[in-house]
Amino acid sequence: MSETGIGAAVRRVEDKRFLTGRGKYIDDIDQRGQLYAWMLRSPHAHARINGVDTATASQAPGVVAIFTGADMAADEVGGIPCAWQIHNKDGSPMHEPPHPPLAVDKVRHVGDQVAVVIAETKAQARDAAELIAVDYDVLPAAIDMDLALADNASLVHDDVPNNLCFDWEIGDKDATEAAFAKADHVVSIDIVNNRLIPNAMEPRAAIAQYEPSNGNYTLHTTTQNPHVIRLLMGAFVLQIPEHKLRIIAPDVGGGFGSKIFHYAEEAILTWASAKVPQPIKWTAERSESFITDAHGRDHETHAELAMDKGGNFLGLRVSTKANIGAYLSTFGAAVPTYLHGTLMAGVYTTPAIYCEVKTVFTNTVPVDAYRGAGRPECTYLLERLVTKAAREIGMDPVEIRQKNMIQPDQFPYQTPVALEYDVGNYPASLDTALQASDYAGFEKRRAESESNDKRRGIGISTYIEACGIAPSAVAGALGARAGLYESAQVRVHPTGSVTVYTGSHSHGQGHETTFAQLVSESFGIPIEQVEIKHGDTGEVQFGMGTYGSRSIAVGGPAILKACNKIIDKATKIVAHILEASESDIEFKDGKFTVSGTDREMAFAEVSLAAYVPHNYPIEELEPGLDENAFYDPLNFSYPAGCHICEVEIDPETGDVDITNFTAVDDVGRVINPMIVEGQVHGGLAQGIGQALLEGCVYDDSGQLLTGSYMDYTMPRADNLPNLNVGTQSVLGASNPLEVKGVGEVGAIGSPPAVINAILDALAPLGVDDISMPATSAKVWQAIQNA
């Protein structure tokens, strides 16, 4: 085995450039003759546009062009598409109102773009934008979901009654009703999953460039999936054929989902670059990120759990309202439905489940996938509800989980909500986490805290997620308008070094290391011999990109598949050269050997033979050693685990201190344990951030009150405890690498552990509910109200 192969804690090769300031992000790139764009954005949440007067602005110094929605409409530019179609309970398709890249008749959220000013400098563009006179008729805003659904609500889209995008359901309603009818206990909960603002370290940015001599467009953009942008923008918005449109996503500074989506600015810049025609650069200000990057979460749910006398789960009934914002973003419709409702079994054997989701347009920034995407919302609901159920029936929260968990011998396990879990061992993760967190010693620690006038609590979350998105046929049947395979090209060079082209995209995940380890393992060569390339549609074959913890689970097997094709071909070459039968050739540790002999060829000798085919089976085999593979997963993968949080609360101030946080995650085979640990740390920071700190607040008129770091609380190092993380893996059963995915587990599993711990601490004071983020002010108020 190679020392840099699977399982080795190899240091991230990309970090050398990131840590020495040599990363190349879009704002680091400049093109000859480059102009700058400034987006004029709506200050209103909802207003009719009577006119946009650009006459004075057009005369401002440095201004090259100003375009409005009318200009794009005149050019028959298409709307920003949604990549997933959901159907209503009655089978009718969801409402898909138009989403023009530049607003035409109305603005629908603060930050909606009204005009683009293109000038020689960014400052000139911004100065000129202030001279544009927009004649607005301000309309009442639909912000709160209940008010937006009311009959007298202001309509975000004039042709969408009650602002209801769709009303969807999953599960067996009748069976669930029957389960409730025979229940001994019914526990209900009303729960809000707080709206979050993603805050990638690098704001979105783009440079569009048009070459008049051949009609080619190049767009550098901060995306997690360059080919998806090429397809969506090329085919649906701008009608540019794919061979004339190149998308480059170079180093990208974090995404967390918010850079999956096709954003209007990409289409505006690309379209305008041919009008000018000069390269145009746009870099979002941080303030713009807050009001234009798709937000996450924002669910309100009522749920009920039916149990028998012994605390066995009989049925689950869930009714969710999901805020989709002003427009359908790329995956906005999929998040509250197939990434949320399908996970309602959790790790439990609940036999009957029914979930309905009303998705609501509001005059807020579009809501779409954010680290976890639907699965944190579901997990938070389930794990709060299960813990509440335990308390109400007087059962230990560990026991109620153990009693209802799917057991290791029940796999594959078909849930009542479409998914079939392939493999897992949930009781083992729970046991390990209980040990690692010294759960048994908690009461002693609680007593110590109480002697210091503090309140101590412990909270458990036993979660599952479906990731490795997704089998294309399944996704298609559920409304996806794309396949969800991944691609890889493995190009072995004549002297044995390797370049891999992957359709996955790395924006912090460490693919350049992890993927290289796969190749290192396959070929028995050190990772220094391997280079991972991604992010440029001009050099990489069509791929689907990175989201939903799919890079290792879907992108990884594609690389493995291409590597295996290389080995198969190399075996044929070796058999020819060493005059042996193919079946007698063994490949191990980078060497091809004829079994039982000392005849062997090193990997690099074979590659050289492939490119210098002097002694070569040329009649049956092409020269070269360069293979392509596409891999479509057989199933989702199902990471799961147990998170246990322990808090100490100062009842005088409401301050919550996380004293211990234990995460035991089953992520399948671990390729690089250091990167896995880093991913879990990052996810936990975001999950703890959601639970304690982060909350997006709009006022009733649709102004964002948390529009900067002065008011939106990002988690910082001093908010986090020393995280006690570990993996306890059951190898994945649905892909050849036996991996499951790790990017989202931290953000999915942790929020309910934190809130359950707080409620455990405050239960003696009579507090039975608290919403996220559980700020000190909120905790103190809950104590006062109890």
């Binding site: 005088e652 008011d711 609380t713 700020t775 103190w780 108020q781 006062q784």
Partner: protein
């Protein structure tokens, strides 16, 4: 940011002269508020007069019964000063918890008090410790200096040169920070100087820093922490925002005062 004339003053007189000849000039100290305001185009000064190159505006001197801190002294310099730590440790601790390391290494005491943000820490430090603000024209008692939100008695163009803090007999600052900005939701400086007990509160009031008479009465000569905690502070006139209600702030005033009293010993 809108365009402005940048002037780098090399002396106090140079700065004052530049400021007086500007249409709408603004002094730039650490810039921790001014620069973000300019970047968001919320201010449009004709001239920005940078004070950073004026040598004699920064520095800490021990005057025996008082410590004098130059207006351009950074929070980090105050926090790390041996003189401050030995004579008025409460002030060093206050400076050491302002904002974050970047802010502490750029932000200055003069800039902070001239801005008089109602949630800033230094105003409570100045009032609680009965400081004197020294300008190019006069010496002003901290009690008189801070007038309202972002308002002081400074006249147009008047330049703070230093702040003088009498050495307190006992003092401590307790702050409950805003989780996002790390400004004070409530901060209370409790101090006893020359036999006088003071409790100065920042972050809470709609009109900025103030002395809490009810808390001071409860603390008394013995800095009675339990008595301070027992004070029911009225929520009238206190800030209420997405981070904290007026009632929560009122409650925190007693708690922070009590904790400061305990720490002050």
């Amino acid at each position: 940011m809108y365009n402005f004339n940048y002037q780098k003053a090399t002396s106090r007189d140079d700065a004052i002269s530049a400021r007086s000849s500007a249409d709408d000039g603004s002094y730039l100290a650490g810039g921790m508020t001014l620069i973000p305001t300019l970047k968001q185009r919320l201010a449009k000064p004709s001239d920005v007069i940078d004070l950073a190159a004026i040598d004699d505006l920064a520095g800490i001197t021990d005057d025996g019964g008082a410590i004098t801190i130059g207006a351009m002294t950074t929070h980090a310099a105050v926090a790390n000063s041996d003189v401050v730590a030995s004579k008025i440790p409460a002030l060093a601790a206050l400076a050491g918890h302002i904002g974050d390391p970047q802010v502490r290494n750029r932000g200055t005491i003069g800039g902070s008090i001239a801005n008089n943000d109602p949630a800033a820490d230094y105003p409570a430090g100045c009032v609680g410790l009965n400081a004197t603000i020294i300008t190019n024209k006069r010496e002003i008692s901290a009690d008189d200096f801070f007038t309202d939100l972002f308002e002081t008695v400074l006249e147009d163009g008047e330049l703070i040169t230093a702040v003088s803090f009498p050495v307190a007999d006992k003092a401590a600052y307790a702050k409950f920070p805003n989780p996002a900005s790390r400004y004070a939701i409530v901060g209370v400086m409790v101090a006893q100087t020359g036999g006088e007990t003071r409790a100065a509160v920042t972050g809470a009031s709609q009109s900025g820093v103030y002395r809490a008479a009810d808390i001071e009465a409860a603390l008394g000569d013995g800095l009675d922490a339990a008595a301070a905690k027992a004070v029911k502070v009225s929520a009238d006139g206190l800030n209420s925002d997405i981070h904290a209600s007026a009632e929560y702030r009122a409650h925190l005033i007693s708690i922070m005062a009590s904790r400061a009293a305990t720490a002050a010993g």
